[in-house]
């Protein structure tokens, strides 16, 4: 079996003013080729104005098993949202 080229994750900026967003992955021999392949695979219909590629092995991700420990603490802090506070209707611009 032949070896796969390294895997890259592809991010596209849909238009200027927006952030780059993950769209998928592909294999390429190097970063330059990854950009060229990303252009062919992910932007055949003007999906973007800018591409990022990053080696998948360089991405560090949180562990789903730790999701609770990481994200639960925010759950009971509803006071971080504006709707938590009761303000009389007659008060304007608040």
């Amino acid at each position: 079996m032949s070896e796969d080229w390294p895997l890259f994750e592809v991010f596209i900026r849909a238009r200027s003013g927006l952030e780059h967003k993950h769209v998928g992955s592909l294999h390429a021999a190097d970063a330059r080729m990854a950009i060229e392949h990303a252009r062919d695979v992910y932007t055949r219909r003007q999906e973007g104005v800018s591409l990022w590629v990053v080696r998948s092995s360089d991405i560090v991700a949180s562990d789903p098993e730790e999701a609770e420990a990481l994200f639960e603490p925010a759950r009971d802090k509803v006071y971080r949202h504006p709707t938590f506070y009761a303000i009389p209707d007659e008060v304007k611009n608040l």
């Binding site: 992955s25 021999a29 055949r44 990022w52 560090v60 789903p64």
Partner: protein, 344 residues
Amino acid sequence: MYTQALDSPVPEDGRASPAGQAALERRFDERIERDEKIEPKDWMPEAYRQTLIRQISQHAHSEIVGMLPEGNWITRAPSLRRKAVLIAKVQDEGGHGMYLYSAAETLGVARAELIEQLLDGRAKYSSIFNYPTLTWADVGAIGWLVDGAAIMNQIPICRCSYGPYARAMVRICKEESFHQRQGFEIMLTLARGTAAQRAMAQDALDRWWWPSVMMFGPSDAASTHTAQSMRWRIKRFTNDELRQKFIDVTVPQAEFLGLRIPDPDLRWDEATQHYLTGPIDWSEFKAVLKGDGPCNQERLQARRAAHEAGSWVREAAAAYAAKHGGRGPRARSAASFASREEAP
């Protein structure tokens, strides 16, 4: 389409104690029940993983082999417009294969392994692509019927429980609609053309109808995977349900074209509000799937030849990348842009 190459591998089945295993499975079933998406690093039963690898890779192979019957007509398309459209469509099919291989890889299988399974004949792909494209009308019939059936099949997969597969399918479905419409337009042009052109369109429908109807796979009674796939919400409808939907929408389109569906038993059933068809010849489906279709050998030979002919390019690119440190010429780092633009 997140990747399996992220830092921590998904825990293997059997790592947990039997009690722990049962708890993991219960939690997984509950997530499916709540219609939550399963993502690559989440725990999943090994059978779920294997089912997805099989289905997604077969789907990817079908896209790749599917380029061949239509690619056959690129050089002979009847006008520059038709040629440009056909090139774009075939390129889309290649892209769809790439999205799907990426999705399959998130389950922990290497792409090279999947390609090898295709090339050495172990993997299956849609039996429809083992039929020849004899005339230009076949290109129209494929877009109209084969892509039409594919869309019918793929739209429910946009809601599949496995996130990367569902996302790939959303992208594919968006692009597929043009494929079907361009095919119907070809059929319409021929149907409104000369007597010879109408005959050509009818001949294409005669040859592609039954294979298209069979694309949905064996009937529910004979389908080995349907029940489990429905429980896992990989599938949302049975093969027969999807087939019926396809027939119901396609028959009126054939009528609009003034073409005859090659099924003497076909009739509208007032009671069920569906079209009823004659019996399907499943022996043909099985033979083609087994490798005895008109073009099975030819298709695989074409893929093998392409793979072998491209090997020097892959080797040269790898050698070049090794020499230049994997970055390639003129590839600029985005890190500096990122920090400049998006740091708080």
